[in-house]
Symmetry: C2
Subunit: 209 residues, 2 copies
DNA sequence: TCAAAACGGTATCAAAAGATACACAAGCAA
DNA sequence: TTGCTTGTGTATCTTTTGATACCGTTTTGA
C-alpha cells in the first residue's frame, strides 16, 4: 500500500503542505486485527493514533460494568489518548479494535508543536473534542429521558443508517454492553419490538422493518 | 478595582508576557448578578468568557427537563462557548449566573490566534476540555451505576466540601433539577437519610452530620 | 463427533423510580 | 391581615428495570 497517496485522500482537512510533510515523516502506519488492544487503563500514552480505517472501541471499566465512551473511526482520533498524551498522564480508558483497523501513529511529543504551527490541526483537535462531548451529552440524554426500549431502537436505526443496511449483525449480549444494561432486558425488549413488527430477529442478526 | 493586579493573580497560568498584554488589551471586565443570562440556546457566541469570580450554570434544555452540564467557576472558561465561538456556531446551551460573577470577556476572533501563539493558552484549553469531559463521564457513571439516594448524598458532600461548610442552602426542587429527577423523589430520599441520621433537614437548608 | 460455549426465550420476583394527589407550613407582598 | 407563592411531607399506584433461574438451540473447536 502506498502510504502517501492514500494518506492525503483520507486526511485532506490537514491543509498545510509542511504539515503534510511532517505527517509523512513522523507517522507510522500500523495495522490491527479485531480484538487487538490499543490502550489499556493505567498505561502512559506515548503515541497519538489517527484512524484511517476500521474502528476502535474506547470505554472505561469500573468494577464489573463498563461505560462506552465512543468509537474512533476513519479520520478520527481518540480524544482521551490525545489529552492523556498531551499531559503525559496515564490513560483512564481501554481501547480495543472492533473492526480491523489501519492507524497512523505519531509520537505524543509532537502535539505541542503542531498546536502552535498548524491551524488545521488546531481545528481538527477542537472539532474532535466538540464531537466527543456532544456524543456523550447525547448518550446522557438518552439515559436520563428515554426508556431502554427506545434507546435500543435508536441504536439499531443509527447503526443501520451508518452501515447503509437494514440488517445489523449483533448479539443481544453485545447490545446490552453498548447500552449499559443486561442481556435479559435486551432480549425481552427486542421480542416486544418484534411482536410490534418493528424488527425481525435472527441469531446474532436483527432486521429493521 | 484594579484589573491588572487582580487579573494576573487569578490567571497566573497564562505565562507569556505578550499574552498578558493581549489579555489586558482585549479583555473587558463585566459583572453579573445572580440570575443574569450569559448565553441562550440558539445565540451566536461572539465573546469568550473567563470567569474570575462567582459561578455560571451551563445546561441544556430539552422539552420540559434539563441537563446540567457544568458550572463555570473562577479561572475556568465555558468549553461549550469556546467551541461554539471557535466554529462560529450557535450555542446549544444556556448559561445563567448562579453566584454573582466577575467575568473577563474576549472577542471570539482572538481564539484562533492565541492557539498559534501561546502555549499556555493551548494548555489551558486542553485542560478545560479534559476536565469537562471527565466531569460528564462522572455524572454519567453516577446515573448508570448509583441509585439516586447515593447520588444525593454525594452531591451534598461534594458541595459541602467545596463551600467548606456542613450546611447547604438548597431547596428540594433545586436538588431535583441538579440531579435530573423530581421533587417528590428527593424529598422522600432526604427524609430517609434524615431518619438514618446522616443529615438534618430545615427549610431550604440541609445539614450534614 | 461430541462437548463446551455462545445465543436466545421466558417466567418469576423484587427494587427503584416516577406520577399524582393532597395537606400543611413558612415567607412574602399588597 | 390576607392571600399568594414556595417549600416540604407523605400516601398510593404504576411502570421500568434488574436479578435469578432454567431451558432449548446453534455454533465451534478439540
Amino acid at each position: 500500500m502506498n502510504i502517501d497517496a492514500d494518506l492525503f485522500k483520507k486526511l485532506s482537512f490537514f491543509t498545510e503542505p509542511e504539515f503534510k510533510e511532517e505527517l509523512l515523516k513522523h507517522g507510522q502506519l500500523a495495522s490491527f486485527n479485531k480484538g487487538d488492544v490499543i490502550v489499556r487503563d493505567g498505561q502512559y500514552v506515548k503515541f497519538l493514533p489517527i484512524v484511517l480505517k476500521g474502528a476502535i472501541r474506547v470505554y472505561q471499566q469500573k468494577e464489573d460494568r463498563e461505560i462506552l465512551l465512543y468509537y474512533v473511526r476513519a479520520e478520527e482520533t481518540c480524544t482521551m489518548s490525545l489529552a492523556a498524551a498531551y499531559f503525559n498522564n496515564q490513560s483512564s480508558s481501554h481501547g480495543i479494535v472492533t473492526e480491523p483497523a489501519e492507524v497512523l501513529i505519531f509520537p505524543a511529543s509532537l502535539i505541542d508543536q503542531w498546536q502552535l504551527k498548524y491551524p488545521s490541526w488546531n481545528r481538527y483537535v477542537m472539532n474532535m473534542f466538540r464531537r466527543r462531548y456532544d456524543e456523550l451529552i447525547n448518550s446522557f440524554e438518552g439515559i436520563v429521558f428515554d426508556p431502554i426500549s427506545v434507546r435500543v431502537l435508536e441504536y439499531l436505526q443509527n447503526k443501520a443508517a451508518k452501515e447503509n443496511s437494514s440488517t445489523i449483525e449483533i448479539s443481544h449480549q453485545q447490545l446490552a454492553s453498548e447500552l449499559g444494561t443486561t442481556r435479559v432486558v435486551i432480549s425481552r425488549i427486542l421480542k416486544d419490538h418484534e411482536k410490534q413488527q418493528k424488527i425481525k430477529l435472527y441469531r446474532s442478526r436483527i432486521e429493521l422493518l
